[in-house]
Subunit: 189 residues, 2 copies
């Protein structure tokens, strides 16, 4: 039958998965199983194909990790987008870290060897911070101020997530102390 024939010629095997499905599965696995649990095998199982099939859509695990990092940066950027004050911005940043600790660390403090997101994704994620830094410290100090703010918040949340606050005291209070003093420091002239 001609119909079957041309059909099989045009579409010998229908797609059984897609790149977005693969990245979604990887994001989900990353958070539920941790970075070591994000294996090609596990991703393949999630999307319903065999591991070698993934290589039709991604070059390898490193590229997949990069795509996960970029998706995370996009989510972070839109999460911070509506912020209007430093404390609001910092709070959203911290909450994001608590909600998606593994992805947060993959993006903000990846170990050596991990892939780096392409520039445009980092730029989008840092736009809200730059905007608020500028309004606080002035345009001429916007970049320095944004870097100070991001560095502090990244370090704080990272230490929190890694359980590095082990000398007692109130971590919540330490956060408030930091936000308050930082806002004052950035506004200083």
């Amino acid at each position: 039958m001609a119909t079957v024939n041309s059909y099989t010629r045009i579409m010998p095997t229908p797609d059984r998965t897609s790149l977005p499905a693969i990245v979604d599965a990887a994001c989900s696995l990353l958070e539920s199983e941790g970075l070591p649990g994000l294996t090609m095998q596990a991703v393949a199982d999630r999307v319903g194909v065999r591991a070698p099939s993934l290589y039709k859509r991604v070059q390898g695990r490193d590229e997949l990790l990069r795509l996960v990092a970029e998706a995370t940066l996009t989510a972070l950027g839109s999460r911070l987008g509506g912020s209007e004050t430093v404390s609001e911005l910092a709070k959203g940043f911290r909450e994001f870290g608590h909600e998606r600790p593994v992805a947060f660390q993959l993006v903000m403090t990846p170990g050596a060897g991990s892939p780096v997101a392409r520039d445009e994704f980092g730029a989008v994620a840092s736009e809200p911070t730059l905007r608020i830094a500028a309004s606080l410290a002035g345009e001429e100090h916007a970049l320095d101020a944004a870097r100070m703010l991001t560095a502090w918040a990244t370090g704080f949340v990272s230490m929190e997530l890694n359980g590095n606050f082990r000398l007692g005291g109130d971590v919540e209070e330490a956060w408030e102390f930091g936000v308050t003093r930082l806002a004052a420091a950035l506004a200083a002239r």
Copy 2:
């Protein structure tokens, strides 16, 4: 011959390596090959035994990583010990990160799944920071101030090492900006 007999009974095979030698080799490999390059095989090669022999001295790769992290914290603590000002302390911290980037990140921003140094090693490393924070912000704010300082410095150096300052500008200036404003912020009352 009785001599040979008792000798072989007491010391059937002489030790061909030691725990310090293994940890040293691991520290060196970590920095030269990166975390993925720190394999049991590579460590075994360095110290001149086969990989299975390492398990006579360490429980596994995770414990070895923990010992490396603890050795790094000890080195960091003695490096910062002599500091007398915030900028001096911060500078030493940053230099340490530049000299041993992989070990620095293993200790300060390990990914999930990596082992955590035992409390006493973290306490020793943070003592100099606590001391200077207290002198600046007063005893009642020492812990909060130390956490603010450590978070900022950790985040800054981590972002530097990961190439996360990609919006142009002068990174050196951003560091100076941060140290200056931070010192002022901590001293504020």
